[in-house]
């Protein structure tokens, strides 16, 4: 449940669902997100610029000409979170990954730090059913969890200046896919050719949504599009 609601700006508030990161808390965040989004779309809540769900926080960005922190906090405090539907299950995806050395830039190093063979790391990654906690940082960029404890690892000491598009990477208990060329400090274990954000798709440009589940499927280099 919401522990506190504070300001993140004079045009934004942040609902704090606590420090823990787990699916149950995240599902509460998403249910509040869906509820507020609908109220905003119906214009029952005025002047909403953006609602941004993350692991265990929800940020509401509004236009101070049309609304204010006091009113938004009051609306959210009056909502009985227990009554919001969380049953909507997300879509299930299978995403092809090629784990070849030329793509898995950090796999070799991980074998040393995790004391596991490449095959064991890949097998564990393939066996995990991932849950999409949030989309953030860049368009279409998913944050997925939870990794098997065996694969828990810290970020790179020195982030790469440029990570190739489609890189599948892990850090802590999470897995991500880089949708664009960008700097990045996560451990890269493979590559996918799936397009995570498509500007040609005007109705639904973002492939994944929070709450979706993802299994990876090992493919050969030739099967990457």
């Amino acid at each position: 449940m919401i522990k506190k609601i504070t300001n993140i700006s004079d045009q934004g508030i942040i609902c704090d669902f606590g420090e823990e990161v787990n699916k149950d808390i995240n599902k509460k965040v998403i249910s509040l997100f869906n509820y507020l989004k609908e109220k905003s779309n119906n214009d029952e809540i005025k002047g909403i610029y953006n609602i941004i769900p993350s692991y265990n926080k929800l940020v509401v960005h509004f236009d101070l000409e049309k609304n204010n922190s006091h009113k938004i906090k009051e609306i959210i405090s009056s909502i009985d979170l227990k009554k919001l539907t969380t049953s909507q299950s997300g879509k299930a995806w299978t995403i092809p990954v090629c784990y070849d050395d030329e793509f898995a830039l950090d796999l070799e190093n991980l074998t040393k730090s995790l004391k596991l063979s490449k095959e064991e790391i890949i097998k564990t990654h393939l066996e995990t059913e991932f849950y999409v906690y949030m989309i953030g940082f860049m368009p279409g960029h998913p944050y997925m969890g939870d990794l098997d404890k065996k694969l828990f690892t810290s970020r790179l000491q020195s982030p790469r200046v440029q990570v190739p598009i489609g890189s599948v990477a892990i850090a802590e208990k999470f897995c991500i896919i880089y949708p664009y060329l960008s700097p990045g400090g996560w451990n890269i274990i493979g590559r996918t050719s799936v397009k995570l954000f498509d500007t040609k798709n005007l109705t639904n440009p973002c492939l994944f949504s929070p709450g979706d589940t993802i299994k990876f499927k090992k493919v050969n280099k030739s099967e990457l599009k």
């Binding site: 993140i8 004079d10 940020v59 860049m138 368009p139 500007t199």
Partner: protein
């Protein structure tokens, strides 16, 4: 009638199309973007009686050279008539950083998720979000039908020194002593500043709790502080979420002035209450309205 357009003879350093921004889509990882200086953007459209959210050409530092067009502009905040073959040379923004060029009737631009705002890194915006390039053709909707030119007098950019800050969600992460310094000593705006963020250098902030947090939503103006203690003010093209603690946020009424400060200027931060920030916002909107009311015929 043939399609009118501008030919780009010099693109300028950072010329992109912008409107108010792209809203309702940040949960997909899409930054709101939008004009860095909302007030100047709005005034550029209002001078032409355009829709207030009509896309404008935003430039920074060195502006573009466009051909249709007539003479060198002598002063900003006014409209000019242009004839075929004339050239419009937007030399440079000397006192400030960002400027806007609007055209009566607007530029002919494709919208994505309700906005023309360009984000080059994610290939989002007109022409796949690319910055304006040499020899680009910039299409415009119509030829001018207005007889008289308009002007807003007495707008001058000043070097603003003090910027108001509201405490952020992780304000309590930082030591009292270092916060005291943050709100009393000068910070230098570095050249590592763009539409995504502004890095400032001064006394570093001491984090007593944790310099990494689970990523959470971001709003422009937020002041995040990575492990090295040097603040980064997140601007219009900010990543949608971030994992660094935020000591505070620049109040909305000060945002336009902040992004107009050039690198190497020294600024100060001042802690204010939410009530003060809200009052300042009302005054800021009033000031814009007054400037629109004061538009006069040249």
């Amino acid at each position: 009638m043939e399609q009118s357009y501008f030919e780009v003879l010099r693109p300028g350093i950072n010329s992109t199309f912008q409107d108010k921004g792209r809203f309702g889509v940040q949960y997909m990882g899409l930054a709101p973007g939008g004009a860095m200086d909302y007030q100047s953007f709005l005034l550029s459209n209002r001078l032409l009686n355009n829709d207030k959210n009509s896309g404008a050409l935003e430039f920074a530092y060195q502006g573009p050279l466009l051909k249709l067009i007539k003479g060198k502009t002598k002063e900003p905040y006014r409209t000019y008539d242009l004839n075929e073959g004339d050239q419009l040379d937007v030399l440079a923004t000397k006192a400030s950083a960002y400027g806007y060029l609007s055209i009566e009737g607007g530029f002919k631009l494709d919208k994505f998720c309700g906005s023309v705002s360009s984000q080059p890194r994610a290939f989002i915006g007109p022409n796949d979000g690319k910055k304006i390039e040499l020899k680009d053709k910039i299409l415009i909707f119509k030829n001018s039908t207005t007889k008289e030119n308009k002007i807003i007098r007495n707008i001058k950019f000043e070097e603003k020194k003090i910027f108001s800050v509201l405490p952020g969600p992780q304000f309590h992460y930082f030591s009292t002593a270092s916060k005291k310094q943050f709100f009393s000593t000068p910070y230098l705006i570095t050249k590592q500043t763009d539409r995504m963020g502004m890095r400032v250098i001064g006394k570093s902030l001491e984090n007593l709790v944790n310099s990494n947090i689970p990523s959470e939503g971001i709003i422009k103006g937020a002041i995040q502080v990575p492990g090295d203690g040097n603040p980064i003010i997140l601007l219009s093209d900010h990543p949608t979420t971030g994992g660094y603690p935020k000591v505070g946020s620049i109040i909305s009424a000060d945002y336009d002035d902040l992004i107009q400060q050039n690198a190497n200027r020294e600024i100060y931060f001042q802690l204010v209450t939410l009530e003060a920030a809200e009052q300042r916002f009302t005054a800021y909107m009033e000031k814009i309205k007054k400037r629109i009311t004061n538009i006069e015929i040249v």
